[in-house]
Amino acid sequence: MTALAQFRRDTDYTETKISLVAPFVDERLRVKTMNVTVENLVKAFGLVPALHGVSLEIASGELIALVGPSGSGKTTLLRLIAGLDFPNSGRVLFGNDDASAKSVQDRNVGFVFQNYALFRHMSVFENIAFGLRVRDSGRRPSEAAIAERVMTLLELVQLNGLEKRFPGQLSGGQRQRVAFARALAIEPGVLLLDEPFGALDAKVRKELRRWLREIHDRTGHTTVFVTHDQEEALELADRVVVMSQGRIEQVGTADDIFDNPATPFVFDFIGDSSALPVVIDKGSVSLDDRILSIDANGHADGPATLFFRPNHVHLAGQESGAIVGTVRGSRRRGDIRRLELEVGLARRLCEIDLPADAEVPKTGRIAVKPAKWRLFPRTA
């Protein structure tokens, strides 16, 4: 038998099923957590700016998500908190201690890397035990204590029985959980996760998401995770930090972020939305000189962008003040039909959701009115 065939035979890639148990606080794993304060962090890589003065308060025991498109600085912020990179200016405080001057080793953070970064030549057991074994002799637990802790953690991440496996013999989801257990082994004050589910397929992701929430509730770690998946961020986190181009756009709960987007970027990035260029003049909002039946809500006169969500739109009759457009595309999505509407002289495309049985006239011209909307001033 060739070495490769032997390797394949020894390797079982089937995912162990993750069972979800009712959350309870596990005293063996409970740690003293701390709040984290980020003050005015500025970071540039060479001449390329990555963060422009970011400040953030993270409460003790909170589960917080950093979400944003790639290049928004979310991973940079996470690495600065961990001490894997150092800021050009600004501070990171753990509790009331200034951690800025501390090395990674002394910050006592649990960091889970995007590609897990498991030690490939060590068994699962040794991977998890690593952080305990490298302590200096005064603080190093006994061999028996190490074994007990590793087994407790294996139980927590539901990988009991796999402690002798090597990383190469595990599925993606299993590796992810080993990386998680390894980070928890050192009893970190803060847990930092970089795209924890980024490399997994959709089904495993969903399962691990609920599992992470449950672990968080059981261990109570202050946890910060980075994701580009807004659904993941909104579903999992207590609070979401939306970032763009090295700045924080908004910090809030899922409700805040979704219902009250602070900036055009947040409205655009979170959830589906359509944007139309409008002009506000003496309290009335007009699109291509047609006055819309939309309240300017005290916005100043001048060019503005009208944002609304596809599902906040209903068909309008013949009354004036509606948004009129030509249907360019139509897709069935569950109970609704999503139409692509070409609107105005600029032929801007909007997405709107209508009931699946709504009738669209043969001409393809329809009029709609948004029930909820937001206006943001537009700098031309």
Binding site: N108, F113, N115, F119, V134, P167
Partner: protein
């Protein structure tokens, strides 16, 4: 048997395969080439060495000058290989784990010994340390002899075998990246612990591979060593130099006897190298994490 996939016509040839006669011709040419240029000369070495029987073979090995040449070769390798081991790890570590100015230039420099003729490598040390060289008078005053002595041979050997370990490690360590090291330090490991427990185990087979090739070259080096050694029998002759002297003295059996030892070293190196590649191939080039 009704599965259409199984009933596919068998005469189909893979798009990248050649027709049978072309294949036979290509394989034939390769086989003849290897036979004439590699296998036959190798066999000839052993035939010539054993021409006068096993007794003469071991008799030639018992000669004092021959034994000294073997001893000197082993000693030079024992100094040059560890030196390049340390250098190779340090260079590969610096190049693959850090970003700095002049990195590309350093990589080119490491390759230099591969592109420089070994004779030149020997000559530069003569120019530096020879009695008429830059440091010659100063070395003379302090009674230090480098050229035509063992230190010169060691220096020339280190120069020639410089790239082997580093060359083997750089691509692998580059591929492995720094994430495991970052993971280790985030778990509280010191720099040395990270190196010893994470970096080194990850490259150990590539390291052995590099050491093996380095050793083979260190023991077999002729050109550079010939320039700096001075060919003093029983003092500064390594095995390759000794073979040449014996050959020029018409001592065919003795020459081929020593040559057979080097050939044997080559064969052992080849076997161990193949075994490493077969067993740890995926770890030599970076495997799953």
């Amino acid at each position: 048997m009704s599965d259409p996939a199984l009933a596919a016509p068998r005469t189909w040839r893979s798009p990248t395969a050649e027709i049978r006669p072309v294949r036979a011709l290509l394989i034939g040419i390769a086989a003849v080439f290897i036979g004439v240029f590699l296998v036959f000369p190798l066999v000839a070495v052993f035939i010539e060495a054993l021409r006068n029987g096993v007794g003469a073979y071991f008799g030639a090995l018992g000669d004092a000058d021959t034994q000294h040449a073997i001893w000197l070769t082993l000693m030079v390798a024992a100094i040059a290989v560890p030196a390049n081991l340390v250098f190779g790890i340090a260079a590969a570590w610096a190049i693959s784990k850090y970003e700095f100015r002049g990195k590309a230039f350093l990589i080119t420099l490491i390759d230099l010994p591969f592109s420089v003729s070994p004779v030149i490598a020997g000559l530069i040390y003569v120019i530096m340390f020879g009695s008429h060289g830059y440091f010659g008078p100063w070395l003379n005053d302090h009674n230090i002899q480098i050229i035509f002595a063992v230190p010169g041979i060691v220096l020339a050997t280190i120069f020639v075998t410089f790239p082997f370990v580093a060359r083997e490690l750089i691509p692998l360590m580059d591929e492995q990246g720094t994430q495991e090291e970052e993971a280790a330090i985030s778990l509280g490991a010191s720099g040395w612990q990270t190196f010893r427990r994470v970096t080194l185990p990850n490259v150990k087979w590539a390291l052995m591979y590099g050491v093996l090739l380095c050793n083979a070259r260190a023991m077999g080096e002729f050109g550079a060593v010939a320039v700096v050694s001075g060919h003093i029998r029983g003092l500064t002759n390594t095995m390759p130099l000794h073979i040449e002297i014996l050959y020029n003295d018409y001592q065919w059996v003795a020459a081929f006897t020593v040559a057979s030892l080097l050939a044997l070293l080559a064969l052992v190196t080849l076997v161990v190298k193949s075994a490493l590649e077969w067993r740890f191939g995926h770890e030599l080039t970076g495997g799953p994490r």
